[in-house]
C-alpha cells in the first residue's frame, strides 16, 4: 500500500534522521590540538595542530612510530592530560573547560579506556572490576549489575564473575577491561594498544570483540596500535608523525 509505505519511509527517515542528528550531536571534534613538554633544554613538541572528527558509531585507528605522541593524543582526548593548545569537544562538551569534579564525571560517563596494561584491581573480582566505574557515581544500581553481567557474558567471561584477575589469562583480563570500559555506556572508547600485551590469537579475539561491542553500543572508538591487522579493521586510519595527524592512504 503506497500510503503505508510512504508513511514507513517517512518514519524511517525521521528515525534515521533523528539518529543521524543525535549521532552528530555526540560527535568527537578535535581542533588544532597541540602539546609540548618542558625538558632541561627546549620544550619537546609532541602534537602540532591535530584536528579530527568522528561521529557516533565511527571508529578509527591512529598509528605511528614509538614516541610519536599517539598515547598523548589519546590522553588529551580522554581528559587525562591537558593540551597546550587547541580544544576537544565530545557531544558539545570541552572537557578542558570543566572543573576537576566535572572533568572526573566527564571521564566517568562519557569516556571508556582500554589500556595496554589491563589495570584490573587485584583485590576485586572480575564483576567488581567491571563495576568499578559505577562507584565513582555513588555505587552500582541493579541495572548496572545486570549490564555488567551482560557485558561479561558478551566477552565470554560469564562463568568467571567471581574470579580474581590473578586467576585469568592475559586475554581474559583484557576482555574484562573491555567490559569495564563500556559499563557506563560511554560515548567514546579510547583503546591504547589494547592487544599490545597479547598473543596473536588473543589479540585477534579482543580486537573483534572491541569492534563488535563498539558497533552494538554505537560508541566512537579510537584505537592506538602498532598492529597493522588491528588498524586494518578500522573504518579510518590516521598516522601521527612529527606531531601531525594525517590520514593513511588506503
Amino acid at each position: 500500500m503506497p500510503a503505508v509505505d510512504a508513511c514507513v519511509a517517512r518514519l524511517r527517515g525521521t528515525v534515521v534522521g533523528a539518529l543521524a542528528a543525535r549521532e552528530g550531536m555526540n560527535a568527537l571534534v578535535v581542533n588544532d590540538l597541540s602539546k609540548q613538554f618542558p625538558t632541561r633544554s627546549e620544550p619537546l613538541v609532541v602534537l602540532r595542530g591535530v584536528s579530527l572528527r568522528l561521529d557516533a558509531g565511527e571508529n578509527a585507528a591512529i598509528v605511528g612510530p614509538s614516541g610519536s605522541g599517539k598515547s598523548t593524543l589519546l590522553s588529551i582526548i580522554g581528559g587525562l592530560e591537558p593540551p597546550t593548545g587547541g580544544n576537544v569537544e565530545l557531544a558539545g562538551d570541552d572537557p578542558w573547560r570543566l572543573d576537576p569534579q566535572q572533568l572526573a564525571r566527564f571521564r566517568n560517563m562519557r569516556v571508556g579506556f582500554v589500556f595496554q596494561e589491563h589495570y584490573l584491581l587485584p583485590q576485586c573480582s572480575v564483576l567488581e572490576n567491571v563495576l568499578l566505574p559505577t562507584l565513582a557515581a555513588g555505587g552500582p544500581s541493579r541495572q548496572s549489575v545486570e549490564r555488567a553481567t551482560m557485558l561479561l557474558d558478551r566477552v565470554g567471561l560469564a562463568n568467571r564473575l567471581e574470579h580474581r584477575p590473578a586467576e585469568l589469562s592475559g586475554g581474559e583480563r583484557q576482555r574484562a577491561a573491555l567490559a569495564r570500559a563500556l559499563i557506563n555506556r560511554p560515548l567514546l572508547v579510547l583503546a591504547d594498544e589494547p592487544t599490545g600485551n597479547l598473543d596473536r590469537i588473543a589479540g585477534q579475539n579482543v580486537a573483534e570483540l572491541l569492534l563488535e561491542l563498539q558497533t552494538i553500543e554505537r560508541t566512537i572508538l579510537i584505537v592506538v596500535t602498532h598492529s597493522r591487522r588491528l588498524a586494518d579493521l578500522m573504518q579510518r586510519r590516521w598516522e601521527l608523525a612529527d606531531g601531525r595527524l594525517c590520514p593513511v592512504a588506503e
Binding site: P38, T39, Y119, L121
Partner: protein, 1146 residues
C-alpha cells in the same frame, strides 16, 4: 560492589604492607600512650607515697606550743558523744627536730639530724602493718635511713640530742640563747624498714628522712614537760569517718587557757591578770583575749626590766618598770600617791616611782630620773643598752594596785628565784651591783614594779615584733564565767585558730600536692617526641612504599572517573582502619613502654624523682586519648603522604610515577633553595631577638628558632638535592662516580630527604637539648654565678643567736677557727621559716615553701646571677624597695617583695609571668601571705626557697628567732699570703663548723655540692631525653633500612644493567655507599647547624654540651646507615644480572 567492599578487599589483599604500616602506627601509639601512662603512674605513685607516709592519719593539729595531751582525749570523747558516726581516735604526740650521735668513742663520731616522733598508740597509724615496735623507757627505734647513716644496729647505744624548749623567744631580751642541747643516752631497740612508721611524716616529700621513735612519756620526762604534746593526729578507722574530718574536729576543739598559752591569776585585789609564757603576747593572742573579755574593763600593760634607775648620782639596779595607763576607778585602779591621792594618767615624759624606789633615789616630784635598759630585741647576741630620762611626776604609795606582783609576768630563772643573787638571766648580769637592800626588796615585794610610765611611752621604748603587751588586767566580775580563782580553769570563748590551734586536712593536702609540679605526661611526651616523630616518619615511609605500588590503581580510578577527593577519601578510609588497629595494638604496648620508663626512673634516672617507689597505673583516659591522638597523627601523616601522590596527574600515575617531581620535572628546585634561604634569614632575626624577649618566652623561642632553622635547612637541602639533576655525567670530569651518586640521590628527592631528615632531627634535638646540661663546678666561686661566690652553706637545727663574724660571737658558741682563716671568712646569717622543699628535688606541689630572711649585709653585698630583676643595677635591693613601690599601699598591706630561683618560680610555683607577678603562700596558721616577685635567680643554691628581706621577715614571722641558715664566704689570695690554698681552707672551715657547732645540729654543704644536687635533676632529665633520643635513632635506623632496602630493590634492573655494562659489584657498592654518605653527611650537617643556631644564646652561659657523645651518636648513625646500605647492596647484587634484566623485559 560498594565503596566499603572495595576498602575491605584492599585491606585484605594488601594485608602485609598494611600490617607493616600498622606496626609503625603501633610504635608511635605505644610511645604516646606510654608517656601519658607515665604521667598517670607518677601522680598515682606520688599519691600512694603520700598515703604510705601518712598511714591512717586524716587530719593533724600541729601546735605552736606544747599543749595538754589530755586535749586529745577530750576531743575524742566529744566526737564520740556528739558525732558517733565520725568518731576517730585522736593520738597525742610530740615531734621535734633532733640529732642522734654515735656514742662509741673509739670510732669517729657520726651524727645525723632526724625527726623524732613520740606518739601514744602509734600502732593505730598503720593498723594493717606489723605491730609497732613500741619503744619504752630509754630506748629508741630508728628507721633504716637513720641507722645506715649512723652505722648502728639494734642494741647499740646512741646519744639523743634534744633541743631545749624555752617559750620566750630567744631574741627577746629575756629569751634564752644558745641553750645547750640535752643529751640522753638511749639504746636502739629496733631498726625498722623505711616503710610505715619508718617513713611517717607530715612534710610533703617523697624522700625518706631519718626518723626515730621514742615513747612520749620518756620524751616528756627528758624535756621536763608534764604530759604534753605538740601534735594531735586523727586516725579514723573507717573511710566514712574521713569526710571533712578536719572541720569536724576543729568544731570540737575546746582548748583551755593552758592550751592557748595563757595564764590567768587573780591578784589580791581580785583583778584577773592574764599573761603568757612567751612573756610578750603575740598580737593575735592579745586580739583574741580582748574579744573574750570584750564586755569587761581591760587594762593592758607592758613590763620591762630596767638595768638601772638613777637620780643624780644615786642608782638602783635591776628593777621592773611597768608601762600602763592609770585607771581612776576600782578594781583596775587607782594608783595613789603617798598622800593617798589618785595619780592621774601620765604624760609621755613622766615617771612614777614607788615609795621604796623614790626613797632609795631620794627623788622628789619634778626630779629627773634616768632609766637604763636593754632594747627589747637582741640581734645576734648583741644586747644594746639605752638610756631615757623622765620627770618624776609622783611617788606611789606601797599599797593597792601599785604593789601587785602580777604586773610582772613569770620569767623562769628570774621571777622564780628567792633572791636577786640567784637570778640566772640570759643577758649580761652584774651581780656585784646588787645591794643587800635590793635583795630585801626582792624578798618582800618580789618582781613588783618599782616604777610606772605611760603605756604609750612603754610601747614606744619596749614594744617590738613580739608584741606590745605583757599583761592584761581584767575586771574581776568575769570570775564566774571564767571559772576558778587561780590557775587555769574553764574554756576560753576563743577561736582556736586565733591561738594557732588548727586541725589541718593533711591527707587531703597531701593528695592535692600529689598532682605534682611537673606534668610528667607532657615531660615524657616531650622526651619521647623524637621517638614518636621517628615512628611517624617510619610509618610515612612504609605507607608511601605500600601506596607507591598502587600508583597505577590510583591512576586507573582517576581515569574511570573518580574525582581526586573521592580517591583521597578511599585512601583515607583504608588508612584510618590501619591507623585505628595499629593504635589499638600500640595502646596495649604503651603499658610496656611506660613500665620501661618507670624502671628507668627507679634506676638510671633516680635523681630525677628521688624515689624508687614508682608503680604502673594505667588510666582509662590516657589510653583513650593515646589511642585517639596516635590514630589522628598517623592518619594525618598518611593523608599528607597520600595527598602528594594523588596530586600527580592520572596518566603519570598509570605510568608508575610516585612523586610530583618525577612527573613535573626539576623546575621547582630553585624555588626550594630560595625558600630555604629566606626562612634561614627569618630564623636568624628571630634568634637575635632572644635577648629582647621576656624570660618566660625564651624557651619557646628557642624551640621555634631551633625547629625553624632545622626546617629551613631541610628545605634548602631539598632544593639542593633537586638541583643535583643538573649534574651531568655526559662529559669528562672528575669524581664521575660521586657525580652519578648525586644524580641518583636527586632522582628520588623525597626518599633522600627522609633519610637526611631523620638523622638531622636526632642530631639537632640531642645537641640542642644537651646545651642545657649544667656543670655546677664550671664557674668556680664566682660572685655572679649561682653560688654567689660562697664556698659553704651551713644549716642548723637550733637557731644561733650570735654574730659569728666577731670573736665574741664565735667564742659564745665555741666556734674555733685558725686566725688566718677567721680573718678572711665572712658569715651571712639568714633567718628560716620552715616549710616544704619547693626545689626540683621534690615532685610534689608545694603550697608552703620555706622562707628565708635575707640580712641587709647580703643585700648590700649582692652577688648571684639574676635571670630577671626589678632593679637591674642592684637586684637584691628590690627586696627592700619593693614595699614602697607597692602601688601606694601601706607597708603592712603591700605584697612582700620576694626573690626566687627561676626554676622554682616557673616549675614549682608556676609563676610564669616572672618579675611583677603576685601570689600567695600559706603562713602555716590558716592564713595567707601575699608576695610579689622582684627577682629571679639563675640556677642558684636557693632553689626551693623564697627570699625576703630580714626586716620584713621579722614582721611576718616574729616567732622565728635566730638564724639557722648561713652563707660562708672565704676570700683567699694565696699569692699574697702563706695560707693554704682555698680548697683546703674550705675543708678546715667545714670541719670546724660541724665539730664546734654540733650542739646546734649544724650540717654543712659546699655550694658546688648543693648545685650538683639540684643540677642532677635537670641533667638526669637531659640524660633521659638523650636515652630516648637514642631509642628514636634506633627506630629511625630501622626506617632508614626499610627505605634503603626498598629503594635498592626498585633499582634492581638499573643495577643489573650497570653490571651488564661492566660495573663491578664493588664499584656499585661504593656508588650506593656514596649516595648514603651524601645523605647522612647532609643530615648531620643540618642537625648540627640548626642546633648551633638555636643554642648560641645559651652557649655563653654554659658550655657543657657533650660534644663527644653527640659525635659518637652521629658516628653510630653513619655506621648503621653505611652498614645497612652496604648489606642491602651486597644482597641485591648477589643475583645474576641477566636474571634481573629478563625480569624487566618480561
Amino acid at each position: 560492589m560498594s565503596a566499603w567492599r572495595l576498602t575491605i578487599n584492599s585491606l585484605t589483599h594488601y594485608r602485609w604492607p598494611n600490617a607493616a604500616v600498622a606496626a609503625g602506627v603501633a610504635v608511635a601509639a605505644a610511645v604516646l600512650c606510654g608517656a601519658l601512662i607515665v604521667g598517670d603512674s607518677m601522680r598515682a605513685s606520688l599519691a600512694s607515697l603520700a598515703q604510705k607516709r601518712l598511714g591512717n592519719v586524716e587530719a593533724a593539729l600541729i601546735a605552736p606550743r606544747f599543749i595538754r595531751a589530755e586535749l586529745a582525749r577530750e576531743i575524742e570523747r566529744a566526737l564520740a558523744e556528739q558525732m558517733p558516726e565520725q568518731a576517730a581516735p585522736i593520738l597525742p604526740g610530740i615531734v621535734v627536730d633532733a640529732a642522734v650521735e654515735t656514742s662509741d668513742r673509739r670510732a669517729a663520731r657520726r651524727s645525723v639530724h632526724l625527726k623524732l616522733w613520740a606518739v601514744d598508740r602509734a600502732e593505730r597509724i598503720f593498723p594493717d602493718q606489723a605491730p609497732f615496735p613500741e619503744p619504752h623507757g630509754e630506748s629508741v627505734v630508728l628507721n633504716n635511713s637513720a641507722a645506715d647513716r649512723l652505722g648502728v644496729r639494734e642494741s647499740d647505744a646512741v646519744i639523743l640530742r634534744l633541743p631545749s624548749q624555752g617559750e620566750i623567744p630567744a631574741e627577746s631580751v629575756l629569751g634564752r640563747k644558745s641553750e645547750p642541747m640535752q643529751s640522753v643516752r638511749v639504746r636502739v631497740s629496733r631498726v625498722m624498714d623505711d616503710e610505715a612508721w619508718g617513713r611517717f611524716g607530715l612534710e610533703t616529700t617523697q624522700r625518706v628522712r631519718p626518723t626515730a621513735w621514742v615513747s612520749r612519756s620518756s620524751l616528756c620526762e627528758w624535756l621536763g614537760l608534764p604530759d604534753r604534746a605538740n601534735v594531735l593526729l586523727a586516725v579514723p578507722s573507717a573511710a566514712d569517718n574521713r569526710v571533712n574530718l578536719a572541720e569536724v574536729l576543729q568544731r570540737q576543739l575546746r582548748p583551755d587557757w593552758d592550751d592557748c598559752g595563757v595564764r590567768i591569776e587573780q591578784s589580791p585585789g581580785g583583778v584577773l591578770v592574764v599573761t603568757t609564757a612567751q612573756l610578750v603576747m603575740p598580737p593575735s593572742l592579745e586580739s583574741a583575749l580582748r574579744r573574750v573579755f570584750a564586755d569587761r574593763p581591760i587594762q593592758p600593760a607592758l613590763t620591762h626590766l630596767a638595768n638601772a634607775m638613777a637620780c643624780d648620782d644615786r642608782s638602783i639596779p635591776y628593777s621592773t618598770i611597768t608601762a600602763v595607763d592609770f585607771r581612776s576607778k576600782p578594781p583596775l585602779g587607782p594608783i595613789c600617791d603617798v598622800k593617798g591621792r589618785p595619780i592621774p594618767p601620765l604624760r609621755d615624759d613622766e615617771i612614777v616611782l614607788n615609795a621604796w624606789a623614790a626613797e632609795q633615789l631620794r627623788a622628789r616630784s619634778g626630779d629627773r630620773v634616768t632609766v637604763v635598759f636593754f632594747e627589747p630585741e637582741v640581734e645576734q647576741g648583741r644586747y644594746r643598752e639605752r638610756t631615757t630620762a623622765f620627770t618624776l611626776a609622783a611617788v606611789a604609795s606601797m599599797t593597792g594596785a601599785a604593789v601587785d606582783r602580777a604586773w610582772t609576768p613569770r620569767v623562769p630563772g628570774i621571777t622564780d628565784q628567792l633572791t636577786l643573787g640567784d637570778w640566772d638571766p640570759p643577758f649580761p648580769f652584774e651581780q656585784n651591783r646588787i645591794r643587800p637592800v635590793d635583795d630585801d626588796y626582792w624578798k618582800q615585794w618580789g618582781p613588783t614594779p618599782k616604777a610606772f610610765v605611760s603605756l604609750a611611752t612603754g610601747r614606744r621604748l619596749w614594744a617590738g615584733r613580739f608584741g606590745e603587751t605583757t599583761t592584761l588586767r581584767v575586771a574581776p566580775e568575769a570570775v564566774e564565767s571564767i571559772g576558778g580563782r587561780s590557775g587555769l580553769g574553764g574554756r576560753p570563748n576563743v577561736d582556736p585558730a586565733e591561738v594557732g590551734l588548727i586541725f589541718l586536712p593533711v591527707r587531703w593536702q597531701a593528695l592535692a600536692a600529689a598532682v605534682g609540679t611537673t606534668p610528667f605526661q607532657w615531660l615524657f611526651l616531650g622526651f619521647s617526641g623524637f621517638v614518636i616523630v621517628a615512628a611517624l616518619l617510619l610509618l610515612v615511609s612504609l605507607f608511601r612504599l605500600a601506596i607507591d605500588r598502587r600508583s597505577a590503581e590510583l591512576g586507573l580510578m582517576s581515569a574511570v572517573g573518580f574525582a581526586r577527593t573521592r580517591i583521597m577519601k578511599h585512601v583515607l578510609i583504608e588508612a584510618a582502619v590501619v591507623a585505628s588497629l595499629g593504635s589499638l595494638v600500640g595502646t596495649a604496648l604503651g603499658a610496656g613502654y611506660a613500665s620501661l620508663m618507670l624502671w628507668g626512673l627507679r634506676t638510671w634516672w633516680l635523681p630525677a624523682v628521688g624515689t624508687t617507689q614508682l608503680s604502673l597505673d594505667v588510666g582509662a583516659a590516657s589510653v583513650v586519648w593515646g589511642w585517639f591522638i596516635a590514630t589522628a597523627a598517623a592518619l594525618a601523616a598518611m593523608g599528607f603522604a597520600a595527598r602528594r601522590l594523588i596530586e600527580i596527574p592520572p596518566r603519570a600515575l598509570l605510568a608508575g610515577a610516585t612523586s610530583a617531581a618525577d612527573a613535573a620535572g626539576f623546575g621547582r628546585s630553585n624555588r626550594f633553595v630560595l625558600w630555604g634561604v629566606g626562612m634561614l634569614v627569618v630564623m636568624a632575626v628571630a634568634g637575635a631577638a632572644v635577648a629582647f624577649v621576656p624570660e618566660r618566652l625564651r624557651a619557646v623561642l628557642f624551640f621555634i628558632v631551633g625547629m625553624g632553622s632545622w626546617a629551613s635547612l631541610l628545605t634548602l637541602l631539598y632544593g639542593l638535592i633537586g638541583q643535583g639533576r643538573a649534574v651531568t655525567i655526559d662529559r669528562p670530569a672528575c669524581c664521575a662516580l660521586l657525580r652519578l651518586a648525586v644524580v641518583n640521590v636527586a632522582a628520588k628527592r623525597g626518599r633522600s630527604l627522609l633519610s637526611a631528615a631523620l638523622l638531622s632531627l636526632a642530631v639537632f634535638l640531642i645537641t640542642a637539648i644537651s646545651a642545657f646540661q649544667i656543670d655546677p663546678g664550671q664557674f668556680g666561686l664566682d660572685r655572679d654565678s649561682g653560688n654567689g661566690g660562697f664556698a659553704l652553706i651551713a644549716q642548723s637545727l637550733r637557731a644561733i643567736d650570735h654574730d659569728l663574724n666577731t670573736e665574741q660571737g664565735r667564742a659564745a658558741v665555741q666556734l674555733i677557727l685558725p686566725e688566718e682563716i677567721a680573718r678572711k671568712t665572712r658569715v651571712f646569717p639568714i633567718r628560716v621559716k620552715p616549710g616544704d622543699d619547693a626545689s626540683c628535688l621534690n615532685p610534689y606541689r608545694i603550697s608552703r615553701p620555706r622562707v628565708l630572711g635575707v640580712p641587709d649585709s647580703l643585700i648590700e653585698r649582692g652577688g648571684f646571677a639574676f635571670a630577671q630583676a626589678a632593679n637591674r643595677d642592684h637586684p637584691w635591693r628590690a627586696l627592700r624597695d619593693g614595699a614602697e613601690a607597692g602601688g601606694g599601699e601601706p607597708a603592712e598591706n603591700a605584697p612582700t617583695p620576694v626573690v626566687i630561683d627561676k626554676n622554682t618560680a616557673m616549675y614549682s610555683l608556676h609563676l610564669w609571668e616572672g618579675v611583677g607577678q603576685e601570689f600567695a603562700i600559706d603562713d602555716g596558721s590558716g592564713g595567707q601571705i601575699r608576695m610579689r616577685v622582684v627577682g629571679l635567680l639563675e640556677n642558684s643554691i636557693f632553689q626551693g626557697d623564697l627570699l625576703i628581706a630580714e626586716s620584713v621577715f621579722v614582721r611576718l614571722f616574729p616567732g622565728e628567732s635566730g638564724y639557722r641558715y648561713f652563707l660562708i664566704e672565704s676570700n683567699f689570695d694565696a699569692a699574697r699570703s702563706n695560707a693554704p690554698p682555698p680548697a683546703a681552707s674550705d675543708a678546715v672551715l667545714r670541719r670546724a663548723w660541724e665539730t664546734s657547732l654540733s650542739d646546734y645540729g649544724v650540717e654543712t654543704q659546699t655550694t658546688v655540692e648543693r648545685l650538683a644536687e639540684l643540677a642532677a635533676v635537670q641533667n638526669t632529665y637531659l640524660s633521659t631525653f638523650r636515652s630516648l633520643g637514642g631509642l628514636g635513632l634506633l627506630l629511625g635506623s630501622v626506617g632508614l633500612a626499610v627505605v634503603q632496602w626498598r629503594t635498592l630493590l626498585e633499582r634492581r634492573g638499573e643495577l643489573a644493567l650497570m653490571q651488564a655494562a661492566g660495573f663491578s659489584r664493588t664499584r656499585l657498592t661504593v656508588l650506593v655507599l656514596c649516595e648514603t654518605w651524601l645523605l647522612l653527611g647532609a643530615g648531620c650537617a643540618v642537625g648540627l647547624a640548626s642546633a648551633a643556631a638555636a643554642t648560641l644564646p645559651y652557649a655563653a652561659a654554659r658550655a657543657s654540651t657533650p660534644w663527644i657523645a653527640i659525635l659518637l651518636l652521629a658516628g653510630a648513625m653513619l655506621a648503621i646507615g653505611s652498614s645497612v646500605a652496604g648489606l642491602s647492596a651486597a644482597v641485591v647484587l648477589r643475583r645474576s644480572p641477566w636474571a634481573e634484566l629478563r625480569r624487566e623485559l618480561r
